[in-house]
Amino acid sequence: MYAQMVQSTGKGVKSSEDMTPEERAFQARIDAGEKIEPKDWMPPAYRKNLIRQIGQHAHSEIVGQLPEGNWITRAPTLERKAILLAKVQDEAGHGLYLYCAAETLGVSRDDLTEMLLDGRMKYSSIFNYPTLNWSDIGAVGWLVDGAAIINQVPLQRTSFGPYARAMVRVCKEESFHARQGFDAIRKMADGTPAQKRMAQDSLNRLWFPALMMFGPPDKDSPHSAQSMAWKIKMNTNDELRQKFVDQTVPQIEFLGLDLPDSGIQWNEEHGHYDYTDPDWSEFFDVLKGNGPCNVDRLAARNKAWDDGKWVRDGLMAHAKKKAAAKVAAE
């Protein structure tokens, strides 16, 4: 998802006997459904894990501006341009309040940014894929934001208060984006043969990367037990992925597009759609930096940061002058 492969302790869940009294009391609060607030005591690993998860989520929102921003200047109508601008602005806003949530844990936004820029922190693998035709903008809203919602709706109940509250707002806006994305791709699917071809191309290209957003299969994801015990991860990767497939296949059929995977089939016995797993070696390649756009995305973010240094420094210098003038006047 927006935070993939965040390993918690790397060990199993501590049993109650192995916990310190503080840890036991902490776990009891979580089990009772209480929210943990920034000034409350928390195990260092819980704090560290959350910083990585929220930070990665925030970075995904920021880097996610790039594939969508790629089409703002080429949007085909004024209305589509306005919708896309509003959406990208929302994503930047999500980044902002996620960074604020992370800051309550004692890390600064600038530190997190530096870690993104030098590759120490990751962002969602999906944003390392390119947007190649206009229909991709619809598909990103429909599939990528759709997948994000499936992951983030349960996170509204996550144990850390600021993160849970940020998710409430994020989810509202993401639902809106997903509906707009579906509307955009629907126009394409119902349009001229060329438009329909664009829509099919987007779906075929983005389907498996969207499935990868939920992270590796549960059998290869042994570190999530502690995160689930702490309620910073609410469902397993495979549960969420299945939910996404079950929700999306009927929508593909409604659009009149061909299924992007010949393995998709309704399984009467399980009451779910079967589907083909993504190529997990591709997923791990993307995480290692070898996706189609990794280098360009990071280069773009680094350039923005480096080119903007004089602006940040200039505004800081001005703020200091104003503060000094105020002191002098008092």
């Binding site: 920021i62 501006q65 790039l66 921003g69 703002i72 200047t73 080429r74 949007a75 085909p76 109508t77 004024l78 209305e79 589509r80 341009k81 306005a82 601008l85 509003a86 990208v88 602005q89 930047a92 806003g93 980044g95 902002l96 960074y99 936004r109 206009w134 955009a184 126009k187 394409m188 349009g191 001229t192 060329a194 438009q195 773009a300 350039k303 923005a304 940061w305 080119d307 903007g308 240094k309 004089w310 602006v311 940040r312 420094d313 200039g314 505004l315 800081m316 210098a317 001005h318 703020a319 002058k321």
Partner: protein, 257 residues
């Protein structure tokens, strides 16, 4: 002077001037998306671009109505070539660095806010209604661009140098905002819009105050490039902007998006 323009033809030209300014500047500002110096600026730039595109829909929508050929705002935005655009040269110049972008925004916002203030009293109710809707947005644009110009002008040595360079580069594009022609004469006669030249004193007072706060020096020269608002001679930059903006509409004619 040639035969006075028919009122509707002049009105159409006036509306294109308003709508093309917001369209082209909105496009330029939107090029920043995801590349701003700090997250708050990414949000603010996207918000400004969004406002400007929304305003374009009003102005060009009304232009289509006045023209009476059944054209939508999209038809007008996406299916005209360079010589039919009526925006100021100022708004089509490339973004340059962040300082250039914000200085251009400030120089435009100052004019835009004064212009909309006058249009509130337009004899045409539709124009007055658009001015009413957009003036609040533009007041905010001006507040923000002025604050940023002051912050960067009166900031570090480097930021001051860059802002002065931006002002020096953009200054020759300011004069065009106050040039009057027979379109303007017809608008004044009809009570639809003010004479552009009549905005200059208020404009000069406004920008002098802000630029003094920014410790920047307004160039002495009053020379002004022209040709954008009349369509007689745009810069080379506009054609490139349009190839990007209009590509899908041109490549796939007749499609609904």
């Amino acid at each position: 002077m040639s035969t006075p323009l028919k009122r509707d033809e002049a009105f159409l030209q006036f509306l294109l001037r308003m709508g093309d300014n917001t369209l082209i500047l909105g496009h330029r500002v939107s090029e920043w998306c995801g590349h701003a110096p700090v997250l708050e600026e990414d949000i603010a730039l996207a918000n400004t671009a969004l406002d400007l595109i929304g305003q374009t829909q009003f102005w060009l929508g009304l232009a289509g109505e006045v023209q009476g050929e059944g054209k939508s705002a999209d038809d007008i935005a996406f299916l005209r070539d360079v010589w039919d655009f009526r925006n100021l040269l100022l708004v089509e110049v490339p973004n340059g660095d962040f300082g250039h972008t914000l200085m251009r925004q400030f120089l435009f916002d100052a004019w835009h806010s004064i212009q909309l203030g006058r249009l509130l009293k337009s004899s045409d109710a539709r124009v007055a209604a658009i001015a009413e809707k957009t003036a609040k947005e533009v007041a905010y644009h001006l507040e923000r661009s002025a604050d940023t110009v002051v912050g960067l002008g009166d900031g570090s040595e480097e930021s001051r140098r860059r802002m002065q360079e931006a002002l020096d580069y953009l200054w020759p594009y300011v004069g065009e905002m106050f040039q009057s022609d027979d379109v303007d004469a017809a608008m004044v006669a009809a009570g639809i819009a003010p004479d552009p030249a009549s905005l200059r004193d208020e404009y000069d007072a406004l920008i002098s105050r802000v630029l003094a706060g920014a410790t920047l020096t307004i160039p002495d020269s009053r020379f002004g490039h022209k040709g954008g608002r009349t369509g007689k001679m745009h810069t080379e930059h506009l054609g490139h902007l349009l190839t990007q903006m209009q590509w899908l509409q041109r490549a796939y004619p007749g499609a609904n998006w």
